[in-house]
Each structure stands twice: as structure tokens, then as C-alpha cells.
Symmetry: C2
Subunit: 360 residues, 2 copies
Amino acid sequence: MNSWAQPPMRVASDALELFCEQALVASGAGKDTAAAATRAMMHASRLGVDSHGVRLLAHYVKAIEGGRVNGKAKPRFIREFGATAVLDADNAHGALATYTAMERAAELARLFGTGSVAIRNSSHFGAAGAYALQAAEQGLIGLSVCNSDAIVRLHGGATKFHGTNPIAFAVPVQNEKPWLLDLATSAIPFNRVILYRSLGIKLPAEVASDAGGSDTEDPTAAQMLAPLGGDYGYKGAGLAGMVEILSSVITGMGLSFELTSMVEGEMTQPRHLGSYVAAISPEAFIERDAFDSAMKRYRNALRASPVRDGAKVMAPGDREWAEAETRARKGIPIDPETVQAFAGLSTKFGLQPPSQKTGI
Amino acid sequence: MNSWAQPPMRVASDALELFCEQALVASGAGKDTAAAATRAMMHASRLGVDSHGVRLLAHYVKAIEGGRVNGKAKPRFIREFGATAVLDADNAHGALATYTAMERAAELARLFGTGSVAIRNSSHFGAAGAYALQAAEQGLIGLSVCNSDAIVRLHGGATKFHGTNPIAFAVPVQNEKPWLLDLATSAIPFNRVILYRSLGIKLPAEVASDAGGSDTEDPTAAQMLAPLGGDYGYKGAGLAGMVEILSSVITGMGLSFELTSMVEGEMTQPRHLGSYVAAISPEAFIERDAFDSAMKRYRNALRASPVRDGAKVMAPGDREWAEAETRARKGIPIDPETVQAFAGLSTKFGLQPPSQKTGI
């Protein structure tokens, strides 16, 4: 969700992409790290997921400069067994780690029908959907999950226990944009709380809690999020647990509540995040034509499903693909804080900041 | 959730198990079908999931007698590729199909790190958790999903689109009961609606809709369910979609809204359900000791997490394991309608119905 006080600056995606790569290289990142981090940010910025978009550039620059993220990391596979592998990411940027892992998962899926890669010693990877999409773009079904520092209480809980622990799942649709699900297992994103603070409006009921775990609609009092599901929040917490087990337990990395904060504290120490990706080859299970036609039949039926008054039905990803189309035309909006951060990076590194898109 | 007007009859699980197997064999089922269907019903009845327990016996007998379910089915693997397989269930009882599929998925997981089996031409399989648990009992992580006849609207939708499309995920915990998640991707189960009808009480807000898709709290007006997530119901609908794609699209079986009703209509035609199971070997990713200790650390922390006023925090499955312990002691409660159905089956097949457990 965006809420701009005034029309934001809009920049062309290629200019934005170039600036991100240059700034990352200037901060000490190798070309592969700069390319992967930029690709992940641009995925989010193109699709309208601004919380995980180029807003993160300044943060990533700091993390690389401080040493938290190893800008020259050489991720390597330390374990291979059948249709699985384990990647030690060497404290790489999470995007380099996860794109590398999904590439291997996709190869394994072509060889074995499915491929699964657990990742150790990674860092923030941005939008989970970027890596699920990577598989779908190769004609495979992709799954990507990651835990993160704790901000979500348990159902009935009074303390931060899980991260927003996203689940992303992408499925190819022949000659069309993939079906793309990318959801946090929390009721809302914490960015919503921050946005509502700045707008001075109340939160919906039962989505956030104060420091004692009690529900609050006051965004300034909100300290943690509820799990997805409201009165049935044990479901959201259970799904977060599934992500936690795949990301942390089978990788040997920290549980959400053991991880250091993404945004607070020194940027000098690696966070040792774990995550997990998998790819499935539809053709292991069914002829390609039958898969393609069933997937179209499903998504078409979904899009055509009758709606409630004033409502809209969309397939997962449809909102994002529509926004991507708009942004390709009008440019990508950059919030004022990020414009300022870009100016700072430009001065520091002697770079040309991306300018307002012309000729819209 | 149970709500008994008076203390129900309670029977010992071994007597109940014997009766189910005998009734199924008498209805024309082979020994393997009777054993599998009974095992799945007993899983649910032991753990307190009565909607999927022995209440279903009379329904299964009818389905076998009518020919909808092939009581003498011989499921066979029609496709094998690397770490995957496809099982044609020959219109078997869903329990025979799914236990057979998970057994293969487990073998594949031991050989390849993960194993995935898609199932064609199956039928109602009861509680999804039964098959995830089957993997966990072998030291593996288990996943099981299935679509079902449509009863859940889309987010913003006005018509039945998805089934309750459950996701079950079970993880072994050394020397203890597994972590066991088994959730419907609907806001509530339709059984809740039926229960509230009989109790004459209002439904919670925003969990069910009338025939036009509008929210209703009147259980007699409720015709369909909302997806999990309330205002964020696109998340529940998206998760249901993930299940739909794995169960229907890659198996070539019907989409939820194309399936015939489980309970209405003739019991003569196979329903051609699809479903999907997967197993993951933790040891493909990490040493067993490290996995076991991390899993315990996670579940212990979860159970010990501070609670909100009057609330309780439980790990997935904890409620069920506690109920199973009570039922092992006191016997399994049988609702009056099922007691009557058992009496009918006893007369018809000349069987001894299970009697009230003594010596509690």
C-alpha cells in the first residue's frame, strides 16, 4: 500500500537499476552481489512492493560497508544429496544467496522432478516472491520461505516470537505472467504500522499488540503484530512455524527470536539467516500441455468468479502485474526519504542520481 | 470443537477399530482398503478431530456399496521420475491411496532427500494430518494437501470456488510426539456452521456468507465460508490456490468447483479427486543431532512463550496430543447420530457394535 502526500518523483527503471548497481559496487560489493541485490530490489520496486524495493539501497550499502553483509562473498554448496543441496552463503547479501540457491533447485528439479536447497549464513533477501518467480520464469513451480527477526506474537502470545516469515509460491502460466503468491504469515506487515503512525490513523482491530501483547489500534503503541487469521490466529502462527522449521531448524541457523534486528544496532556482525527454496517440475507429474491448459483454466475461472458488491476478485499476482505495467509506463515512484538517501549516496560516491522520468 | 448435549457414549479404541474394519469388509472392501480407511478415521477420532473420525464410517460404507469408492482398488504408480512419482489410485478410498503415496514419498526422501507423489483418481481422504504424521513417525518431515468440493468463496468473491483445501505439515521431535499442523485454508470448517445451526447460536463475524456471497452471522443462512484471514482473506484464498495447483492442476484432476459433492447425490460415480504428498529427510540438510536439538529448542520455546491475559500458547498438535491422552484413558466419544448409524450397520452386517468403555 502506498500513501504519498504529494505526487512522488518517478524514475525510469533502467536508470534506477544502474544507480543501485553503481552504489553497491561503490560500497564495496562485487559485481555479482551488486547485480543480485539490484535484481531483488527491482523485482519489488517494479511490482509495487515498495517496502522491499529500492528503499533498501541505503540500508544495504551500510550493511556492506559495515561488514554485516560480505560484499565479496563466495557462496558454496557444502552438502549435496539426491534432489537437495545446502548452500553456505558466506554471509552474502541474501539476494545473491537465494538466487544462487534457486538456480540449483531449478537444475535439480529438471533432473529429479523436484529440487530443494537450504541456505545457511545468509542475510535479508528482500521480497520472497523474487525467488519463487525465478523458478516460474523457467517453467517450474517455485517456493521460497525465510524467517526473520521476531515481530509477530503467537496466537495467545504476549511477546515477539516469529518473524513475518513469508511464503512465496509461483506457478508458470503459458505465454502469460505467472500466478504469484507472496504473503507474510503475520496479519499485516509492520510497514503498515509505520505508515499509519505517519498518517495518524487507527489500525484495524486485532492486527497489532502493545508491548504487553494486548491488542491495540493505536499505531504508536503497537510493538508487535498478530499472526494471520484473527480469532484463528493459530493457523497463521502454525504457517509461520512451518517457515521457521524450514528456514532455521533444518539449516542450523537462528530462530526468529534469536536473530539480531535487521534495522537496529551495529552493521558490523553477520546475522546468520537461514532460508529455504524449492522448485517443482510440472512435467514430472503431467504432460506439459495438460498442465498448461489446467493452469489457464484455473486462473481464468478465478478471474471470472462472481464478486460481492463493490469487490474485486484477483488471482495472486494480478495486482502486482497491473502495477508493474503502470510503472513501466510512468516510472517507479520514489518516496521523499529515499530521494534524500539517493542524494546522499550520489554525493558520497560521485554518482549521478536517477532523475524524474520524462516523456510519460 | 465438540458440543455434546449429554455425556456421549465412550468406546475403547481397539473395539472401535475392529468394528470399523469389520463393517468396511462387510460392505465389500478388501482388507487393505478396510485397514487404511480405519487407520485414517482412528487417527482423527483418537486426536479429537471428530468431523473426520468414525462419524464417516457409514458414509464410506455407502460409497463402497454404491461403487463410488472402489473397495477392491489396486493403486499403481504410473509415472516415476527422480524424486517424484504419480499414483493412479484406481478410485480407491482416499486413505489407501494417500498412505500408499506417502509410503513411496518417504522411500524417495530417504534416497533423494525429498520425495513427492501426486495422486490421481482418489477419493475423500479424511484428515490431511494423518499422512503428514505418517512421515513424521518415520523421522521425516511430511506435507499433505488435497482440494475438495467447493464451499469457500474467494476474497471478494460471491460464489463457492475452493474447497476447504487443507495443508498438513508434521515434523518429528525426538522421543516426543511430532509437531503437527493440520489446517483448513477456510476461516472456519463448515462443520462449525452445522454445529451452530443445531445449537441455534450466531456465527462469528466475517467467517461465512449467504447464497449471494454477503457476510452472514446466521448459521441457517450460511451457504459458504470465507477464506482464512478476514480482511486479509486474499492470503487464505492464495494458500487454497497453492493447494489447488498441487492437488488438481498437476494431477489433471478436477478443480474444486468441478468436483461433485462429497455428501449429496448418488454414491455410484467416482469423484476423481487429486492430492499431493511430500516427505523431506532432515538429514539431507543437517546432522540428525543438530536437527533434533534445534527442533526441541524451537518447540520448547514456543510452549514457554509468555501469554496474554487468560490465553494459552500451544504448539501445533499439542491440543490434539492432550486430547488423545484423555481419550486413551476415557475412551473415544461417539455422538448420538453415529451411535445410531453403528446400530444400523451392526444389524445389517450382523456385527457386534462397540460398547461403552468400562473401568475408566
